[in-house]
């Protein structure tokens, strides 16, 4: 087998999950993360913090989907190892975020996320919202 440039054979395989933006998906996301995080050598309190940070972002997206009563909204969750830690993203394709005034709930959720991970970037676009988080593990 040949070495792929940039591939780290010690690192975990990236995680990518796509699910409908409904409440029942939240437990599925946690189940995936609970089995993926140990493959990235993340356990215990750090794993619990990441579960909550991702859960909060996903929950916000689901709530907006339910309230917006828009069908076919999807969530995409990704997790991968970086040079210094973990990058986690929660993306939805709901379109009701175009008005910034509708994002009050995200204010509280993002404060919590910022307490749990090192960087949080929330990018609302007309096509949906992407929440990118980074947790430093090897500072």
């Amino acid at each position: 087998m040949t070495n792929v440039p940039g591939a780290d054979t010690r690192g975990p395989a990236p995680l990518r999950i796509r699910l409908p933006a409904i409440p029942a998906s939240l437990a599925v996301i946690r189940a995936h993360l609970r089995s993926w995080l140990p493959t990235a050598a993340v356990n215990g309190s750090t794993a619990a913090e990441l579960l909550l940070a991702v859960g909060e972002a996903a929950s916000n997206a689901v709530e907006h989907a339910v309230r917006g009563a828009v069908g076919n909204v999807e969530l995409e969750i990704t997790a991968r190892a970086t040079d210094t830690g973990l990058a986690l993203t929660v993306k939805d394709n709901g379109r009701w975020h175009a008005r910034p005034s509708a994002r009050g709930q995200r204010g509280h959720g993002s404060r919590l996320m910022r307490a749990l991970v090192d960087t949080v970037t929330i990018t609302p676009t007309p096509q949906g919202t992407t929440v990118e988080m980074h947790k430093e593990l090897h500072p």
């Binding site: 029942a24 939240l26 309190s45 619990a48 913090e49 859960g55 909060e56 929950s59 749990l116």
Partner: protein, 103 residues
């Protein structure tokens, strides 16, 4: 239908009712949690909610607890370490409820 994930313990004399929650609480089951809190609070001016065995909860549970704290004296029993304490302090729930930690 009984709900074993959220249940009220048998009332002890002179003590507020205790709601014991276990497992994961999220948007999918927070309404059941809220219902148990509401019925416990209906019979008493104070309730205690034991979150010691909760394996996951987020802002959805915090909102349910804030709602019951608006009308009832709320006591919380939480693990000494972990994300529940973070949730309580970030949300400010620790300022409207009496928090007891359990190792």
């Amino acid at each position: 239908m009984t709900n074993s994930q959220f249940r009220m313990s048998a009332a002890e004399a002179e003590q507020p009712p205790v709601v014991i929650a276990t497992g994961d609480i999220d948007l999918a089951n927070v309404n059941e949690f809220q219902d148990v809190l509401t019925s416990a609070a209906a019979d008493s001016d104070a309730i205690t909610v034991d979150l010691s065995d909760v394996t996951y909860c987020d802002s959805a549970a915090v909102r349910a607890l804030f709602a019951v704290a608006a009308t009832t004296k709320l006591g919380l029993i939480v693990p000494a370490t972990g994300t529940i304490m973070t949730l309580l302090t970030i949300s400010g729930l620790d300022r409207v409820a009496t928090v007891t930690t359990r190792d």
